[in-house]
Symmetry: C2
């Protein structure tokens, strides 16, 4: 399934219109099934679908058990069945989703994740003594911004990447900011990559939902060129994750956890 | 409730870090109640909350009846009770939400609206013979981009506006692209403004959900400086709404309904 498609459009340039073609990003419905019953659906760019499903399940705690954790042997790539249809993608979860799902969905809304509990006791503290050199951040982000072929051709996606201080380990893009992060989380789980000492780079805004995903993942440093919200900064400070926004060249705003940025 | 707040941050500029203050956009949880039972919650910027709730209910067909319509006398401003709390906003709906809600929520996910039915028969055709001058579009969009005081101070919001060919009638911004559009739809309903002959301006990407909202609202022209997705273009073409993306100065891409743009 192609992550973009070519369509005919009318281009209007300084008073003149002409027919031409344009590459637009692909948006597909992903339906998640458990026991042959559809339990959830979301819209995504059809790349890294396995990673997206695993990352979504993990970061939303949508795992069919009380701990919110899943066993790697049960969630290995082979056990996640993906059916590629013309208009949509269907995925069969390898675990039963019990009654819990009703409770999970009843509080959700548009643009809302299920990770809605921001009460103090639910936000765990990131204990990671990593220290990052600001010069390395600048370099990594430059590399990050060059990576998205899909953004270059369509202008319609957000990106996320997991790095160590030297290089990008995994890169993902998607029409949804949340999906890009979930793809990274899912990949890390499936490939046994620990978030310890790592950096999560994002192209989009740092809303509460994105920050909660990063905290739950356990990555100590979260960086974007875009803005945070007040709720997001509060979550970052409570969890002691390092949050950097407005990264532009050698400049950045440190909203939380400055002790991890080398002076 | 303030749409932004000032916080202390560490600013890093070319190797030097210093303490300073930054204005960040406010993100609040909005809980929607019916019969004293919480039926939905979403995250938003706390402005035009009444309009947001009405627009959300209308554009998601979340109205407690089969037609998906609501009566203005039942939804007049006075009948929507808003409770401003420290950490969140609660809104009491003036109508009972019957069992339907379970069906509505069971299919929803993260970043997903309830408007998930894109089957052909569910997409109505926009019958509106409005013709717009490209020069006017350029002028309106320039004005639109200047309007968001909140974007200038926080860099963290998306905007939407309803216009006629000469001027902006109503402007809204929010941390969520969807919310900004819902605020416009809610305002139009409460103020009895018909979408006929109007233009909907957006700052953000044209995903399927945004386009479905615009089609359901009934506005004939949808314009953004950002990119559309393939699904969104397909919906625009089926509904015969005029969709313009990548508006930059005098240049634009017409993805659907070119007959409404003057040659």
């Amino acid at each position: 399934m192609n992550p973009s498609s070519k369509i005919n459009i009318i281009e209007y340039r300084n008073g003149l219109s002409s027919e031409t073609s344009d590459t637009v990003v692909s948006e597909k419905r992903l339906k998640i099934f458990s026991n042959n019953k559809e339990v959830l659906s979301l819209l995504c760019t059809p790349t890294m679908v396995r990673e997206l499903v695993v990352g979504f399940v993990l970061s939303e705690g949508f795992t069919g058990n009380k701990t919110g954790s899943i066993q790697q042997e049960e969630w290995c790539s082979e056990r996640i069945e993906i059916f590629w249809k013309d208009e949509e993608i269907e995925v069969n979860l390898p675990l039963d989703i019990p009654e819990g799902i009703a409770a999970l969905t009843s509080g959700c809304g548009k643009g809302i994740t299920f990770l809605s509990d921001t009460s103090e006791e639910k936000i765990s503290e990131i204990k990671d003594n990593t220290v990052v050199n600001p010069g390395n951040i600048t370099g990594l982000y430059k590399d990050f911004q060059k990576r998205s072929e899909l953004f270059r051709t369509t202008g319609g996606v957000h990106s996320a990447a997991l790095c160590n201080e030297k290089e990008i380990i995994v890169f993902a893009d998607d029409i949804g900011r949340h999906n890009a992060v979930d793809k990274i989380i899912g990949y890390s789980f499936l490939e046994n990559i620990s978030p310890e000492g790592k950096i999560l780079l994002l192209s989009g805004r740092l809303s509460s939902e994105i920050t909660l995903k990063a905290v739950k993942f356990g990555v100590p440093v979260l960086i974007s060129r875009a803005a945070p919200t007040d709720m997001s900064v509060e979550i970052a400070r409570r969890s002691k994750i390092t949050m950097i926004g407005f990264l532009r060249g050698n400049n950045m705003n440190i909203y939380s956890g400055p002790e991890r940025i080398k002076k």
